[in-house]
Amino acid sequence: MNTAAPSLADSNVEELRRQLRACLAPDCIIEDSESQRPYECDALTLYRDLPLAVVLPENVEQVQQVLQICHSLSVPVVARGAGTGLCAGAMPHPDGVLLSLSKLDRILDIDPLARTARVQPGVSNLSISEAVACHGLYYAPDPSSQIACSIGGNVSENSGGVHCLKYGLTVHNILALKVLTVAGEELTIGSQGLDSPGYDLMALFTGSEGLLGIVTEVTVRLLPAPEIARVVMAGFDSIDAAGDAVGAVIAAGIIPAGLEMMDRLAIQAAEDFAHAGYPREAAAILLCEMDGTHEEVDQHVDEVAQLFEQMGATSIAVSHDEAHRELLWKGRKCAFPAVGRIAPDYYCMDGTIPRGQVTYVLNEIHRLSEHYGLPVANVFHAGDGNLHPLILYDASDPLQIRRVEAFGSEILELSVRVGGCITGEHGVGVEKLGKMPSQFSAAELGQFEDIKYAFDPALNLNPGKGIPILKRCQEYRALPVRHQHD
């Protein structure tokens, strides 16, 4: 996939560039394709394209001007945070402008008493926690990409992390947004309180993949940093046993801060990479973290270690200090790059399944792996059922690309079939657009489409991503919204 010829009339492209140059400094517009290369894709490199222009506004007014210009010329706009997305959500549109929010990277305000921070969208996830650590606070959602990914991107994908069973996703940890509509109108949604009047636009915007508006400011909720966290690592000689042990922890009334599973290939790759002390021979390991006050963590660590033993763990390690805890997590947190070392490329899937189905699903994935002749390493947010099979392949082989896509697609259909969904946290983007009909009926997709029209009637925000536009019969479409507000 590469640059398609712009379908905008050349004169309009010139007009677009002229107007952009008038409002942005020269080093904030990138027009030549060589300099645009770093922006051609997100972290899902299978999908690439180049835009008419990449713009890097330095303040909200400039973002607004860019939107107004694009609106008046009817040019598509694709927002980009840090470009760590895994669904090609930030892939440029060949007839559009790629709007990078990376220069809006200031923390505007921290309120330690109310436990909130007001930040610009380009601020990285981790830097929020670093900035508020001196107040004993942190921002809970912690995607593994947290060093790099932006809070604007997190909001747009409703990102999670290894701690979301206990602390929730992005949607549970933000209070208010400032957004610009496709026409460049400013809106404040949410409030400093815990709810706001009218429809809950916070819910709608979170996870909307840049299709409804551009996020220009985020107020996040902060939590008190726990007194202590400790992790129990246990090896099992079957996926089955590990899956049952997860159920046993929940049944004991314990909500761990994090509960992760890895299978053999993932364990071995991670161990070679991080030397975390994982049992290389185990079929699966569990990492179960408890956090809270010293007393409750000690109590729960003992209970969980005992449970794991009863459930047939073949090895158990309990973190004895902070350095050891970090080491035990290091293998998990580096699992993606670790797997990246054992094959030229990997394709990360993101289905969510009911926890009870994990054995069945992992066995099916192994069967498919043999069928397609492509190895799979599984990393699993076991606490909340979010599975990340990493399929190993070689992107220089077109045949393997076709096989990896077919394999991935079967995994997503499998997730839906057992009562789950096609994406737990990485989003739909371009990648899973074709899979939406396996999870949603035509009427449900039609409802999504109508919501899109309510915010962006001309379909200029991140077109071709997130929700399929079905091009249904024009009359039907005209009825609900489309032509009523023209």
């Binding site: 709810d195 909340d384 946290e425």
Partner: protein
Amino acid sequence: MTERSGLLDGDHSEAILAALRSAREQKSAVYIRAGGSKQHIIGRDCAATELDVSAHRGIVDYQPQELVIAARAGTPLSEIVTALAAENQCLPFEPPLFGGKATLGGTLACNLSGPGRPWRGSIRDMVLGVQMINGKCEQLNFGGKVMKNVAGYDVSRLQAGALGTLGVLTEISLKILPRPQKTLTLRYAMPADEAIETMNRCAGKPKPLSGAFWQDETLYLRLSGAASAVDSTALQWGGDTVENDEALWQELREQALPFFAGDEPLWRFSVQSSARLVADFGPMLIDWGGAQRWVRGDHARDQLNSAALDAGGHVSLFRGGDRESELQPPLNTAAQRLQQQLKKSFDPDGIVNPGRLYSWL
């Protein structure tokens, strides 16, 4: 389905669909009613023909180990609470049961959550999926029974607080949590300002705080969680231990405390938890660690609105007063237009709960 008598409890989604279709054909509208516990509170009075959905009830799926329950929207919350208690689980958002009349659907539509809300989330936070029939008479299923799902827009959470104006909710699945091992309440005598500051300072500590409310010059802090953590925190924080505290939090949740008695208008402020309320609107009850505050009486709407804005939030007329007037604060033009467009995307002909949320919705 205008009356419940004679209808067996169970799946009545076909009948609901038929009723909506006929309303749409006749260009009329319906007011969705289940338990009736909130008919004259929270929203504006709705004159449309009543559509009784209370027979559409029953738990359809409960898997304690998945931490998920799904039930038809007309299911009384009390039934759900009882089923969960048998497995030592609970609805973490502690909704009011309103004498057993409150239903799951009504509670989501009103986004009603009790004292634990700032710590353990609201019903909006816990909802995983909904099945609904929109104003276009389409049966839709969003979200599901898994904890994480980011495919498509989050239509399930959008139903929280929409007061049924986007369609009839038919089934809802929720995340649930284990019941805390121990709960204990501490009491301190102090004025409102000091209480607000204390609530917020305590909420910033990594301790098992699960409730913080103030009335009659008294601050109440509730601790819940592992017994060891609750006991050690209580020892550190001092204060008097409240006997029979469960009843106290229940009365707060159910609005059964004397503060809530009588017909005087009841105003709800939803504000920044640490904000100082400058204007004086008479006696106040402060809940949600400072983020939800109640006042009574006839007050000028403008004064209430500007006090709420200063405090980073909004104020609405929860109960009593003129329920044909706007009960929610005004929105600016751009926001109002978006809300209307969103409504139209679900209910282009305005057949469900017209005017219940705003006169113009």
